[in-house]
């Protein structure tokens, strides 16, 4: 991080490679839209670069980045849920890039996640994909610890039910 702040492109690339997969996966699991997830993760890195010169080097980079990613993903997912998307209006739609066909377990996992609210999904992703503790999640999302625990419990129950059903 310090080397990247000092202007080292190679160190920046190392930082990017280290954090990209987690950021992209976290965004995708919250928004369930590959293009949006790519934009969200990319914008988070761009925000980080814009703030490089003022970033406190004593703070770890990962939580800072993940806070941006998850909050933006929540905002996007909420907006998507609240608004009705409509089609063409005389504009030809080109099919989106084909996405890999998930197997049954992945389908169940994604549909179980989709049944949760964006806020619940975010907590689950932070806990089980990015490995933050409930206390750290509470700090990242500025939520009471009890709220984090209850969202984790509900999310875990929903996922366990689906995943167990599929793997049993």
């Amino acid at each position: 991080m310090r080397a990247a702040q000092a202007g080292s492109a190679s160190e920046l690339e190392a930082l990017f490679r280290h954090h990209w997969a987690g950021a992209y996966r976290a965004a995708y699991l919250v928004v369930h839209d590959a293009a949006a997830a790519e934009d969200i993760a990319q914008e988070a890195f761009l925000s980080a670069i814009r703030a490089f010169d003022t970033f406190d080097r004593r703070r770890p980079f990962g939580p800072w980045l993940h806070r941006i990613v998850v909050n933006r993903a929540i905002d996007w997912a909420r907006a998507r849920a609240l608004r009705r998307e409509v089609g063409g209006e005389q504009l030809a739609e080109t099919p989106a890039r084909p996405e890999p066909l998930p197997d049954d377990l992945n389908t169940e996992t994604m549909s179980a996640l989709a049944a949760l609210s964006p806020d619940h999904r975010a907590v689950v992703v932070l806990r089980y994909v990015l490995d933050y503790s409930p206390g750290e999640i509470a700090n990242l999302l500025e939520l009471p610890r009890g709220t984090v625990n209850s969202r984790l419990r509900r999310g875990l129950d929903a996922l366990q039910e689906r995943v167990t059903r599929e793997t049993s």
Partner: protein
């Protein structure tokens, strides 16, 4: 059933085009890193000046400025403070660029202003170190603090719509000379023609990249790589294109009635005004949300709406948040560098409006009156209302 199994399931979900996404993002991030300008923060002793200006503002605020009565109808609804009779400070860090018949003015956060010279139009460089101005057939790059010209070039056709991109030593300016689109390096050379027969609207750069969008005279929007002049993609014909703006990887194309968002040429309708209404202006907010000015000619009134839906998540036909409304036309929407505030010009009230871009609620609204006289000192009453052309970061 353990947490480990859930953890494993979540980590096994395949990500669409994971490698391609990483490479595309890395190219963008790398380009942004190369283009950034490092900011050296200086602390300035401005206490006495701020105190003096604030005291003056308190005295003047007791007066009733023109236009205030009109605005007050909306104060309760949107939490607007009483209007200020002069632009004594900006609500957010940064500097405004305001163009009046006198020329372009740089307005600092403390309200102090500098007239840059006798130019017709002007816009900021990406980091606000320079201003690119036009005068007749001339394009001029100016130091934003001193107003001193750094270089200029002349063309045989009138020069318009100059837009700056990039930072440090890697900068480019796109501009129109007549119906020809040019790109010139930030140091004034070399200059190259990108396209002929372009529409009379400003080109738009994708932030921190070399991607440029422009509309041709037939209404097709093209996105090109500024270095190679190679077309990356283009849209089908869009009737009445008036404004182009990038938000991340998406391009918002505005007409007089609607906004269409394109991602690599694929269109998604974003906004369509009611029949008979006119879309005066749009501004992209934090994370791709949009503020837009909806003018109703029958009532001669403009309503400013905020769509919290993002450019990335296209949407339509759902009620948006009404931020403000007033008689006449309200437009000229410009966002602050941190995109936390938006300013708008309201000629009927002779006011600049400043809106706090608070998510999911109505934010604060500040109004500043008497702006025509403020930017045309010594000019006639009934002068030309000034135009805000940009809001740049604070001086380095």
């Amino acid at each position: 059933m353990s947490e480990d199994r859930v953890r494993s399931a979540l980590r096994q979900v395949p990500l669409p085009d994971e490698t391609g996404a990483a490479e595309r993002a890395w190219r963008t991030v790398d380009a942004a890193f190369e283009a950034r300008e490092r900011i050296l923060w200086k602390r300035r002793r401005r206490g006495p000046l701020v105190a003096l200006v604030a005291a003056g503002a308190i005295v003047l605020a007791a007066l009733t400025p023109p236009g205030m009565a009109v605005v007050d109808r909306f104060r309760d609804a949107v939490g607007r403070e009483p209007s200020q009779p002069a632009l004594v400070k900006l609500p957010a860090p940064g500097r405004l660029l305001v163009v009046s018949p006198e020329g372009p003015w740089v307005v600092h956060e403390d309200g102090s202003k500098r007239l840059l010279g006798d130019y017709e139009d002007a816009s900021w460089s990406s980091r606000g170190l320079f201003v690119v101005a036009t005068r007749g057939r001339q394009l001029v790059a100016l130091d934003s603090e001193s107003g001193e010209p750094r270089w200029s070039l002349s063309r045989t056709e009138p020069v318009r719509d100059a837009r700056w991109s990039g930072g440090g030593l890697d900068t480019r300016i796109a501009y129109r000379a007549g119906d020809t689109l040019h790109i010139v390096a930030g140091d004034g050379s070399p200059d190259a023609v990108v396209a002929d027969d372009v529409a009379p609207i400003a080109p738009a750069w994708k932030a921190d990249s070399h991607m440029l969008a422009y509309a041709d005279a037939a209404g097709r929007v093209h996105v090109v790589d500024a270095d190679t002049r190679r077309q990356l993609w283009r849209t089908q014909t869009v009737k009445g294109v008036r404004e182009l703006a990038f938000s991340g990887n998406r391009l918002a194309v505005s007409t007089s009635t609607r906004v269409i968002v394109f991602r690599r040429g694929n269109p998604t309708p974003f906004l369509h005004l009611p029949r008979g209404h006119v879309l005066l202006d749009t501004a992209i907010l934090n994370f791709g949300g949009v503020l837009y000015a909806d003018y109703d000619p029958q009532n001669d009134a403009t309503a400013l709406f905020r769509s919290d839906c993002t450019i990335a998540g296209a949407c339509l036909l759902m009620p948006d948040t009404r931020m403000f409304e007033g008689p006449g036309r309200i437009s000229n929407l410009v966002t602050s560098p941190d995109r936390e505030w938006i300013t708008a010009g309201w000629p009927a009230a002779d006011q600049f409006l400043f809106f706090e871009s608070a998510p999911r609620r109505l934010g604060k609204v500040d109004a500043v009156s008497n702006v025509t006289a403020e930017f045309s000192p010594g000019g006639d009453a009934g002068g030309v209302f000034p135009e805000i052309t940009g809001w740049a970061p604070p001086s380095p």
